[in-house]
């Protein structure tokens, strides 16, 4: 196990370097010289030069000059990322502080949404797998496909208009002086409704595969109750795909939900990302891309470890 973890950690090194290289090229070479944007429309040459100096844009791109080879934009980018010092955004606010501030609201939205979707879709998938081919199964599959066909944005626009504005059951928008749970209640329900179709279809397939296995027939033949067969045997054996889905989703939970946060004013990381995109704040985008890639690498490793934990047949050696 230890050797496996060490080996996998070593694999992350080229991945992280690759991510840093790609983000550097994207945001530095392709994205244009951001100094002009920071300086403003009619800024003079000195102001632009000062900005370039402050942000290090006046340094060589990849390799520094003789005697100070590491004094380049790329190595600064590399160093800042590895020390998690992402510096300041375009408005001179510390990016790390912004990220920390946004994690809470994002998780308040995405965790209940994720758990709700997971619990409902797994429960329903067990049910429809058990009654496969019945009117219940067909109806739910039709609803799932319909739900998957409707754009996410439509769920948000309709949900906000109908439940918050027309029925007045929920706040239309983030209410700062009340608990965050008041503001996230509707977005969570919308997120669950919008994500259920996709999720339910996935888990239904997983459960159906399991239901067709011999051990299920054997269990029923031995006279075990439906509940025992479904929850004790089928669910346990379906854990590998469920785990993959769950653990690999965690980084995205931290990132938040771009659209839901924006429409409901939840001050999370998703909203921060959209604001950064609109403001062309490459510093924030760069930091978030790096953090995201790191989280994905870590949670992929965690998924592999979990496989061994839930399935004794999997060996990590």
């Amino acid at each position: 196990m230890t050797a496996f973890i060490i080996r996998r950690l070593l694999y992350t090194v080229p991945i992280v370097v690759g991510v840093l290289l790609v983000t550097f090229v994207l945001f530095t070479l392709v994205g244009g010289d951001i100094s002009y944007q920071i300086a403003g429309r009619d800024a003079d040459a000195e102001t632009i030069a000062e900005i370039r100096r402050e942000y290090g844009f006046d340094k060589p791109r990849f390799i520094g000059e003789a005697g100070e080879r590491l004094n380049s934009q790329f190595f600064d980018h590399f160093k800042n990322a590895l020390t998690f010092d992402f510096g300041y955004d375009l408005n001179r606010e510390k990016i790390t502080e912004r990220i920390w501030r946004g994690v809470g609201p994002s998780l308040a939205l995405t965790v209940p949404m994720f758990i709700g979707t997971l619990v409902i879709s797994i429960s329903l998938s067990l049910f429809v797998a058990f009654v496969r081919g019945s009117i219940w199964d067909v109806t739910l599959v039709v609803i799932c496909v319909a739900g998957m066909s409707i754009p996410y944005l439509s769920f948000i626009i309709f949900g906000q208009y109908f439940f918050a504005y027309q029925l007045d059951w929920f706040p239309i928008f983030f209410v700062p002086d009340q608990s965050i749970w008041v503001s996230v209640a509707l977005p969570v329900l919308i997120g669950i409704a919008a994500g259920l179709g996709n999720s339910l279809r996935f888990y239904r397939t997983v459960m159906l595969d399991e239901m067709r296995c011999d051990y299920v027939r054997t269990a029923f033949a031995k006279g075990l109750s439906t509940r025992t067969v479904l929850f004790k045997h089928v669910l346990k054996n379906a854990m590998i795909p469920i785990l993959t889905n769950v653990v690999l989703s965690i980084p995205y939970l931290i990132l938040g939900s771009l659209l839901l946060e924006r429409f409901f004013g939840i001050p999370g990381l998703g909203d921060m990302m959209i604001q950064a995109i609109n403001a062309r704040d490459f510093f924030v985008l760069n930091a978030m891309t790096f953090m995201m890639s790191l989280l994905i690498v870590v949670f992929t490793l965690l998924t592999d470890i979990c496989y061994a934990w839930v399935d004794p047949r999997v060996s990590l050696e």
Binding site: Y36, D42, D44, T47, E50, R92, D168, F173, Q178, P267
Partner: protein, 606 residues
């Protein structure tokens, strides 16, 4: 038993939903206080007055900071009045030396940056510091262009600051000959050359608001989030990117609601509060709402006092046939306010370009080929005016007859004729032209396609290069764009901002992105730049506008017309396009606001 468990679970779920939001009623926070509920379509970038140029930051900061002078809230044409200045300046005979008396008894808001947290009295030194700070190259203020080449010795001070490693190390005791506090209550400014608009452009701009040195030293780079001003409100809460709350500044000097205005103001109820002490509201809440739907729904539910009209909700609010409010809006007692923004938009020509620069028939042909009215109808629901000149109708010197010259006439037949002439000048068919478009979003692409359509209708080809903003700015300022889509909004009702865009001395990266150069125009500009407002200057302004228009350095397309909606309870709302310190005049009729729920219930029944 099992049934009971499921029932219990169901009840618990319902209770949880109820507690977290379902079944909620309107918040009751405003009962004992007057609160203004407003929205911002994007977050305020900074509240540091010295480096602020974003409109939304100024909408907030304009109520925290104050300036020496400002425009009267109600009077039109706009009239400058003293605020932190005790009176108008004494100006020397050569119009170069301004001696400004500073109002006594004005205090900064309480803040931890002061000893014991008590705001100290404002002095002339605070203005000197604020302007020197903008000149500090290490501070890299976007507002430096306002003061560049204007005040005696200030450019030298900027040069001096280049030797310092960082902003905080600069020694502000370095003397600037043209910027001195003669004593605590007298500010002296000596100009390099006369600057008739200084009061409005420089001393009325939030950038020159006095800032206590203590605050900058105390907060350093955090100063953008910790504004310390002398205005009627102070910052109470700022959740960056989502929520700003201002509360009354207990140290504010106090002011009375104006008792004079335009003739129509009394009829509109704008003078009902004349002579009453302001500010009326105890708190001001700004919510950052970037999407149109929630912003619109909050307004319709009465959770916002005012709103613009999102494009998708235009027909719900406005009866397009008569451009007035729909019956539903009237039933809600919503009021419509329309006003011309001091803005002009254009498709500019780079006159250094070998194809466009020496080919006026080509530029004319392009101008004749674009149907500006269709753009206004299609993209702005009719909320715009065709730009017959480049000076916006909101300007004092606007020429009401400019349309008679036909510079912006849409005439595709004439465009085709002009194109033949242009081909003769060019010596062959005109090659495809390339437009630099700032933005890659849907609007930018639709606008690009709109222009391409009109180019092709007269036999020309336009390629559109959609760019992100930094790339666009760099290309524009380096003169690399052949055609470019752009626009400007004036900060004062004096057209000088527009006229300076065509001076040779302001070639990009200055304001002249067209590289338009006309020696006669330059001479006239030098003349009007030092002239105070007079009928003669107005005539010269108009003459200069026609000179530029006749050379076709751009296709001037539109002036924006803004539509604003307010609820009936939101009192004293008068659009003011050149001031941001307007919230102290606004009042809310709490009873009327409370009754809105009944109005909504009635509408629902219907």
């Amino acid at each position: 038993m099992q049934k009971l468990n499921y029932s219990l679970l169901f009840v618990l779920c319902c209770a949880a939903l109820y507690l977290t939001g379902c079944g909620r009623r309107a918040p009751k926070a405003d009962e004992d206080q007057m609160v203004l509920h407003l929205s911002l379509p994007t977050k305020a970038q900074t509240l540091d007055s010295g480096n602020m140029r974003d409109v939304y930051g100024m909408m907030v900061a304009g109520n925290i900071y104050e300036t020496l002078y400002k425009y009267h809230y109600l009077k039109r044409p706009y009239e400058v009045i003293p605020v932190l200045a005790a009176d108008f300046p004494t100006i020397s005979d050569d119009n170069l030396t301004y001696t400004i008396p500073i109002r006594q008894g004005v205090f900064f808001q309480d803040d931890p940056c002061f000893p014991d947290g008590k705001g100290r009295e404002l002095t002339a030194h605070d203005f000197v510091f604020a302007i020197k700070r903008i000149a500090n190259v290490k501070y890299r203020s976007q507002n430096w262009t306002i003061f560049k080449d204007r005040i005696l010795g200030l450019d030298e001070f900027r040069e001096y600051t280049t030797d310092f490693k960082e902003e905080w190390a600069v020694d502000y005791s370095y003397e600037v000959e043209g910027l001195k506090a003669l004593d605590d209550y007298t500010l002296q400014i000596i100009l390099v050359r006369p600057w008739p608009q200084m009061l409005e452009i420089a001393l009325g701009d939030t950038a020159s608001s006095p800032l206590p040195r203590e605050a900058v030293d105390y907060y350093h780079s955090e100063i953008g989030h910790r504004p310390v001003g002398t205005g009627p409100y102070r910052l109470n809460v700022w959740r960056r990117g989502s929520y700003i709350e201002l509360v009354r500044n207990e140290n504010w000097r106090g002011e009375l609601y104006p008792s004079e205005g335009e003739e129509s103001d009394a009829e509109a109820g704008l003078l009902d509060d004349a002579g009453k002490p302001i500010p009326f509201a105890d708190r001001v809440i700004f919510r950052v709402i970037e999407e149109a739907q929630p912003q619109w729904l909050l307004f319709m539910r009465g959770e916002l006092d005012s709103s613009g009209i999102p494009k998708d909700n235009f027909n719900e609010a406005i009866d397009a046939s008569v451009q007035t409010l729909t019956d539903d809006m009237r039933a809600r007692n919503i009021e419509l306010h329309t006003y011309v923004d001091p803005s002009t938009f254009w498709v500019g020509f780079n006159l250094r370009d070998p194809v466009l620069g020496k080919n006026k028939p080509l530029r004319m042909a392009i101008s004749r080929a674009i149907n500006r009215q269709e753009f206004i109808d299609l993209f702005a629901n009719g909320r715009g005016m065709v730009a017959h000149g480049f000076v916006s109708p909101g300007m004092n010197s606007y020429d009401p007859d400019i349309h008679t010259y036909g510079f912006s006439r849409y005439d595709p037949a004439e465009a085709r004729e002009l194109l033949k002439e242009a081909e003769a000048v060019h010596g062959g068919p005109i090659p495809p032209l390339t437009l630099g478009m700032p933005g890659t979003d849907t609007f930018a692409r639709q606008y690009g396609q709109f222009l391409q359509k009109y180019f092709s209708q007269v036999g020309m080809r336009l390629d559109v290069n959609y760019m992100d903003w930094p790339t666009y700015l760099a290309e524009l300022n380096n003169g690399h764009l052949q055609l470019f889509s752009s626009g400007v909004s004036a900060s004062v009702p004096d057209a000088i901002d527009f006229l300076e865009m065509f001076a040779t001395k302001y070639f990009a990266p200055g304001g002249n992105k067209f590289y338009y150069s006309n020696p006669e125009y330059d001479t006239l500009l030098d003349r009007v730049q030092v002239m105070f407002d007079s009928p003669e200057r107005t005539e010269l302004y108009r003459k200069m506008e026609r000179m530029v228009m006749a050379d076709y350095p751009a296709v001037f397309t539109t002036h924006q017309v803004s539509y604003a909606l307010t609820h009936g309870w939101y009192k004293n709302y008068k659009p003011h396009t050149f001031s941001y310190d307007v919230l102290k005049y606004r009042r809310v009729d709490g009873e009327q606001r409370g009754e809105y729920r009944d109005v909504l219930a009635e509408l629902k029944k219907k």
